[in-house]
Symmetry: C2
């Protein structure tokens, strides 16, 4: 299946990210419909012109008429939803998702899937500290990273479709990696960072902190406003890897602490120099693409 | 001494923050001169119209003609500079600084100071990941926190001057606290955050990290680009407090780790809820002022 201007998208779950997909796709002239159990979310999306049609339940009309479905669901809901509703899709429909963990999700969904449907895992690496379609803004995708996690069950056409979807939505770099690699990296760059932000935000009870903070503290705790249902699920879905990342980070913080406690000024400066060099790589413009 | 349009400022040390002071004050029509050992910095500031006069060495003309001097020096340089050059100031000159630690600095400077001069400690809570006057931008002060650390040796007039200086430079909330309190809080909101950012940036060697990161990782490591001379000095000047803050944070990260390892989903969710509540306080508009 190719992504063309006639492709009809169906968003399942109009939360923050599902909302960003709907806005981005509608803005580029695609046909977009949505399913969300909250009638308020559907009404809002219709009023905003983000979707052409919507329903509180998965209907044969919506599922049977779409070419591609984006499942904006929590990881633990994915396989169950597929089992319950996949009979409503036409043969050849392409399914994708937005989950922040992949190992348990992609396998379970592909396992449960009808042989005449295809599922390709995607992870748009962007977010906000707010949730709900009302806070969606497709501009958060601009220049962000888009991760695709194909498996042996995916066709080159579905991978090409996912890449094109990432490009249409405005992502910068689009990277393919397998679900295990994905969760390894995400355990570090996304889950460990949230664990750190939450720990930092909750380890000091001083009520006047906000009057003495600079940008550093605000930056490090921005993501400490966190959807507790989604994130506890993400953490537990990737538990072993995240535990390893926490230990690796805690070990490094311990090394810094030791340099400070032992008066090792040169050791501390060397960590600062290394950190400066490493961080500078993140400010370079990204090369074209990384397959 | 009152801050009026005729007040002549002298900036000692035209680095990033000294440069921001010079720009901000010049923009508001004050007379600004500067001393910096690097002739390039002086030439640049003159060409930019940030200063009216400049010198590579502290001269009787510059020091003897200013009403207020802002010492943009490293903490360890402060008292020595005072001892070496204070004879050049006119009686009644007001001195202030921009140091990120206060306990060792304010006492040492006030101890060494001529009785007909006055020194009041200030800490502008703003910065950039770049250094040097060429990267100065007075807009980093807009709405930021300005901390004043008066002691029993300070006059109400000097405190009022410092508050007015903070207002002129565009700071949001201006807070007075004693040098010890200052260092306690700074150990947490500023130094601990830098220790975390550096540890996070240096605990993973994967060369492809930048292709899979989202905003969270970039936010948490922005300050990992760090001036190693200045920051190792700041860390060691506040060592005992920073060690305590690192331990407190590591303890909290350990609690999160335990909830995860033990499958305590509700414990994890409760940390996330607390973190969300605490972080929300930082997004509220600040009340008028906090003395």
């Amino acid at each position: 299946m190719e992504l063309t201007k006639d492709t009809r998208f169906l968003i399942i779950g109009l939360g923050l990210i599902g909302g960003c997909y709907a806005r981005g796709l509608a803005k580029h002239g695609y046909h977009v419909a949505a399913v969300d159990q909250n009638p308020e979310s559907i009404r809002y999306a219709l009023a905003e012109g983000m979707i052409e049609k919507g329903s509180e339940i998965p209907t044969p009309e919506l599922l049977g008429r779409c070419d591609a479905a984006v499942l904006g669901l929590y990881p633990a809901q994915m396989a169950g939803w597929i089992r319950q509703y996949q009979h409503l899709f036409r043969p050849g429909t392409l399914l994708t998702d937005v989950c922040g963990v992949k190992s348990g999700v992609v396998d379970a969904v592909q396992e449960a899937l009808r042989p005449d449907l295809e599922f390709i895992g995607c992870h748009p690496m962007a977010g906000r500290e707010l949730s709900g379609v009302q806070n969606s803004d497709e501009r958060i995708f601009e220049g962000a990273n888009f991760l695709i996690t194909p498996t042996g069950r995916n066709t080159p056409e579905a991978i090409a479709f996912a890449r094109e979807l990432g490009r249409v939505l405005g992502f910068g770099r689009i990277t393919e990696l397998d679900p295990g690699q994905h969760d390894e990296l995400i355990g570090f760059v996304s889950q460990l960072t949230h664990a750190i932000a939450v720990s930092l935000m909750t380890c000091n009870e001083d009520p006047n902190l906000q009057f003495v903070t600079g940008d550093s503290f605000r930056d490090l705790t921005r993501i400490a406003r966190i959807n507790e249902e989604l994130w506890s699920e993400l953490f537990f879905s990737n538990r072993e890897r995240l535990l390893r990342e926490i230990d690796s980070f805690a070990g490094q913080l311990g090394r810094l602490r030791r340099a400070l406690a032992e008066g090792d000024q040169e050791g501390l400066r060397e960590m600062f120099r290394k950190s400066t060099r490493r961080r500078a790589e993140f400010d370079r413009p990204a090369p074209e693409e990384n397959a």
